[in-house]
């Protein structure tokens, strides 16, 4: 329906169709009838004929005028239909029931009544006809067979014909209107169906879109989804670049986007006038251009025109992409061939759909950027490793000379009897060898990091290798006056491993043990056991040395760190050996595990498969099954923290550390497993590594954040990848770099634990409104609240349960705040509870100083609604738990 037609209906609504539809037939009939009467009536009845002539001629107009003017045109319209019967009846009587005219009148009456009002009106109003006709017959009598003139006959026919034509036309118009209405209804119906269908499939697209971190896939899914419903063959995405103050065309897809290179470097300055894109961002609402005419291209803004020329479309719809109330860009749809017609409702639906996608699009973009950044970082890392490799080669060459010449000089000094020089020459050698070891360690590490370290697998006898190592290390063990025990079966059989690397790792553990133990025992136990997870060899090196705290163990496998900085000074060593040894074992699909207690010695266990396969290190969850058997244990009712890290040692450390903090810890060795556990267990917080084999941490993070159910779980990144910006952009709550900073990690995670049992905040306040306001604010922060209306009630509550903190009003009935404060401070068990004074009173200097020593903060009631009051309270609480 056009707008014009709509406005007409609007006006006509006040006049009932019974008025409008009867006007035309009435005019035709009542204009012809008087002439017919004139022709039929005898000349002696002229005065009556004249009156009837005038009445008939004017009647339709008067009836129409009155009906239109009346307050209820419908009622008036039907009244005139009754009157029609009466008037036609009079005419019928006046013509003395002459057959032909009377039949005409009868026909007009009956037809009009039925057409206008159906049978109901017909039966109600038809009696007016005989009534009128009797009145007319009073004047003209009854003479049905009286002859009528030819002119009268012709006029009779004319009246019937005219009436029928008008009526038929009217019926036709009505029918057409009915059909049009029907079509309109059907269209509307279709539109509703379409949108229902769209809404239905929307969740489907949204899922598809959210589950993909790749922008191309996201974009394709969006376009495909919408293409099913709307005639779009072009879709564009622009991203706001705040630094440039412009919208940058990111990509254009669809059947009509045939020349993507044309979109490169296309930008729309945000301040550009007349730009549909700029307007869309400024107004934050969809801009719909139903038809872009060739002539209107001239008037486009320069940027819009450039975009249009890159891919001309005849209709376009531009919508803003809004994430967290920020316009991050635009998404535009177009059709290159025919204009599309979108109803307001359809645009709303698309808008709604797009709003759900905005976050996914942003995440996918960030992910893409992250991938790029990662690739670059990796390249940089490889370059670094290459540099290190080259450099250590360059460093090693002069070292050879230093060591070699000092050895030579030592030999010569011996030969020539210059014994004074020998100790110093030995010192040069020792220092030289230490330096060389460091250099070699760095080279090893850089090879490991650059993934250039290769395994050389060969089959050999376990016992032979062990015996070889034992004989090498024996003098070393004896150095510190240690006893050496070796426990090994003769039937350990063959192994297929990188023997050099295994030997190096074992030697490293044994030499460390000898270094850190004096006058003690060192024990090597070699075992082989077949488990479900395979055929394993273990080499356990135990000592009765100084041992380590857990804190020290966490740092153990970090390059360049020994358990304690002072140990380096005391015992020497590079701190690289253990890291490298562990990498070697991990490359072979095994690991090195540590058990230790300060003062009680340590046990380092090498655990490797007896038969190592190539790419062993890439096997997923390689030793997760063994190291973490109790990690998914029964819930203890404590808040759960999920640790996602591919490094078993980190998982182990985190587990121990967080359990001490009162968390229930679940661990996952990879992204997929982590996501599954997050869904199943709904942890209060997640710690997440970035570099993992199956799915990297960025991807895990963006999946977590795009899952409605999981998006609220705080994620703490814990990684060697130093890219805070990326982490925060993808929605991480905190970003920590490895090695684990124990105190920071626990401090952060404590925040997510929620209040301890009995960690309530007690509000002591007689004003209920203030209590309610505080309670709501505290509850919103997840804090538990206890309430007391005066000092006495507060004391009762205090005796039952010690709150973590007290919010205290000063002026209260029964026992006021000052009094209560005195009591609280006199009690040993309560005096540590921090008290925040909430007061409406202006405190005197004297009161302030009296309070200052005993309360942690004073807040005036007029500041209560400000959120920093709650922040202050939270801060106090967290200091308390810290």
């Amino acid at each position: 329906m056009t707008a014009k037609a709509a406005s007409e209906t609007q006006q006509e609504k006040r006049i009932h169709p019974v008025v409008t539809k009867t006007y035309a037939p009435r005019v035709v009939v009542y204009t012809l009838v008087p002439f017919m009467m004139l022709a039929v009536m005898p000349p002696e009845a002229r005065p009556i004929t004249a009156i009837a002539f005038i009445v008939n001629l004017l009647y339709p107009h008067i009836a129409y005028y009155i009906s239109r003017r009346s307050t209820d045109s419908r009622v008036m319209g039907f009244r005139f239909l009754y009157f029609d019967g009466f008037l036609v009846g009079i005419d019928m009587g006046l013509v003395a029931y002459r057959l032909l005219p009377a039949s005409v009148f009868l026909l007009l009456s009956v037809a009009t009544l039925i057409v206008m009002g159906g049978w109901k009106l017909f039966f109600r109003a038809i009696w007016m006809l005989p009534l009128g006709s009797l009145l007319g017959a009073l004047v003209s009598g009854f003479d049905p067979y009286a002859p009528i003139s030819t002119l009268a006959t012709i006029l009779c026919y004319a009246i019937v014909t005219g009436f029928v034509i008008v009526m038929a036309y009217s019926v036709n118009v009505t029918t057409r209107e009915v059909i049009a209405t029907k079509h309109e209804l059907r269209d509307k119906n279709r539109q509703v169906l379409k949108q229902t269908e769209m809404l239905g499939s929307m969740s489907d697209f949204t899922h598809k879109v959210n589950s993909s971190p790749h922008l191309d896939e996201v974009v394709d899914a969006v376009l495909q989804g919408l293409q099913n419903i709307f005639e779009f063959d072009l879709m564009g995405i622009g991203i706001v670049d705040h630094e440039r103050g412009a919208l940058v065309v990111d990509r254009e897809v669809g059947a009509a986007a045939i020349a993507p290179e044309k979109f490169e470097d296309l930008t729309v300055p945000l301040a550009e006038a007349n730009s549909v894109f700029a307007a869309c961002i400024a107004k934050r609402e969809p801009m719909y251009v139903p038809e872009i005419l060739k002539s209107s291209v001239e008037q486009m803004s320069p940027s819009d025109r450039a975009i249009y020329e890159a891919a001309p479309s005849v209709s376009t719809l531009v919508l803003p992409l809004i994430v967290q109330d920020q316009v991050i860009g635009t998404i535009s749809f177009g059709n290159s061939k025919q204009p599309f017609d979108l109803s307001k409702g359809a645009i709303q639906t698309i808008e709604q759909y797009v709003s759900r996608l905005a976050a996914a699009i942003r995440n996918a973009r960030l992910y893409e950027e992250a991938q790029l950044a990662r690739a670059e970082a990796q390249k940089a890392n490889e370059t670094k490793s290459q540099f290190l490799a080259n450099m250590s080669h360059e460093l090693r060459t002069p070292m050879n000379a230093v060591i070699g010449y000092s050895e030579m000089l030592e030999e010569e000094a011996e030969d020539e009897g210059l014994t004074d020089f020998i100790p110093d020459l030995r010192k040069i050698q020792v220092a030289g060898r230490h330096l060389l070891e460091l250099i070699n360690g760095i080279l090893d590490l850089s090879k490991i990091e650059a993934n250039k370290m290769e395994l050389f697998l060969e089959t050999g006898d376990v016992v032979r290798m062990v015996d070889g190592v034992v004989s090498t290390v024996k003098p070393l063990v004896a150095n510190n006056n240690n006893k050496f025990e070796v426990e090994r079966d003769d039937s350990l059989g063959k192994m297929h491993v990188d023997r050099t690397k295994l030997r190096q790792a074992l030697l490293n553990l044994l030499s460390n043990a000898s270094k850190f133990t004096e006058n003690g025992n060192i024990r090597l136990a070699v075992n082989r056991h077949v488990e479900d997870s395979g055929d394993w060899l273990t080499f356990a090196v135990s000592d009765s040395g100084i041992g380590m705290t857990e804190e020290q163990m966490t740092r153990l496998f970090q390059p360049f760190t020994q358990a304690d900085a002072s140990t380096t000074r005391k015992f020497g060593g590079t701190g690289l050996g253990l890291t490298i040894s562990r990498h070697f074992c991990q490359m072979m699909g095994g690991d090195i595990l540590v058990q230790s207690k300060p003062g009680e010695g340590s046990t380092f266990t090498i655990r490797i498969p007896a038969v190592v396969h190539e790419n062993a290190a890439e096997e997923p969850g390689r030793q997760a099954q063994t190291a973490d058997t109790d990690s998914q244990g029964a819930p203890t009712g404590q808040p759960v923290v999920l640790v996602i890290d591919d490094d078993a040692a980190i998982r182990d450390i985190m587990q121990k550390m967080l359990r001490k903090e009162g968390f229930d810890v679940i661990t996952a060795a990879g992204g997929e497993e982590g996501l599954r556990l997050a869904r199943e267990r709904r942890p209060v917080a997640i710690t997440l590594d970035v570099l993992m084999p199956d799915m990297d941490g960025w991807m895990v993070l963006s999946k977590l954040k795009s899952d409605e159910d999981l998006a609220d779980i705080p994620v703490v990144m814990q990684t060697i990848v130093d890219d805070q910006k990326m982490g925060f952009a993808l929605g991480a709550t905190e970003y920590l770099t490895k090695p684990i900073d124990r105190s920071r990690m626990t401090r952060i995670l404590r925040k997510f634990r929620g209040p301890d049992a009995g960690g309530k905040v007690m509000i002591i306040e007689d004003d209920r409104d203030v209590t309610r306001l505080l309670r709501e604010q505290l509850a919103a922060e997840g804090l538990q609240v206890a309430e007391a209306a005066n000092g006495r009630e507060a004391l009762e509550l205090l005796r039952k349960e010690r709150p973590a903190m007290i919010l205290l009003d000063l002026l209260m009935p029964e026992m006021d705040g000052f009094e209560l404060l005195d009591i609280i401070h006199s009690q040993q068990e309560w005096k540590d509870i921090p008290v925040v004074i909430i007061t409406g009173k202006e405190l005197t200097a004297e009161e302030t100083s009296a309070l200052n020593s005993r309360v942690s903060d004073v807040v005036h009631k007029s500041h209560l609604s400000e959120s920093d009051v709650v922040e202050k309270i939270k801060e106090q609480l967290s200091q308390l738990t810290a």
């Binding site: 090693r396 010449y405 090498t472 050099t500 030997r503």
Partner: protein, 135 residues
């Protein structure tokens, strides 16, 4: 007295090792690169060749292959490489070297290997080559 050919590009290493070997009673001739080394091997027919692997121009692998393909294939070769890596050892043995040792040279160990080869003993796989790398 055994004649040893030392092929080593680094002057200090060359000087140091040749002097130490001379002190141990060997006759040592030196070459600073592969080409010269090969020429001297042909001219002087040493009893044993000590050869650095990373040489300018023709590297140690190529020299070893050339020597083992010539009529001098009976002369034992000990390869000296900078840092003991698994692949290096394999590559030197593949190229035809009879033994392998790492730099910096631990003289007693090297002497042991040299004696073995000079006395015609069959080369044992250089199993203990990596041992000294640990802490």
């Amino acid at each position: 007295m055994s004649k040893i050919l030392l092929i080593e590009d680094n002057e200090m290493n060359r000087d140091m090792l040749s002097r130490r070997l001379q002190k141990k009673g060997f006759e040592v001739i030196v070459a600073a690169d592969g080409e010269r080394g090969l020429r001297m091997a042909h001219d002087d027919e040493p009893d044993l060749i000590l050869m650095d692997i990373s040489l300018p121009g023709k590297d140690g692998y190529a020299c070893a292959r050339a020597l083992k393909a010539s009529q001098l294939s009976h002369i034992p070769i000990i390869a000296l490489t900078a840092h003991a890596m698994v692949g290096d050892r394999e590559k030197t043995l593949e190229a035809g070297c009879d033994e392998y040792d790492t730099k910096p040279v631990e003289l007693p160990r090297l002497l042991q290997k040299m004696e073995k080869l000079l006395n015609g003993a069959i080369a044992e796989p250089a199993a203990s080559a990596g041992v000294s790398q640990s802490e």
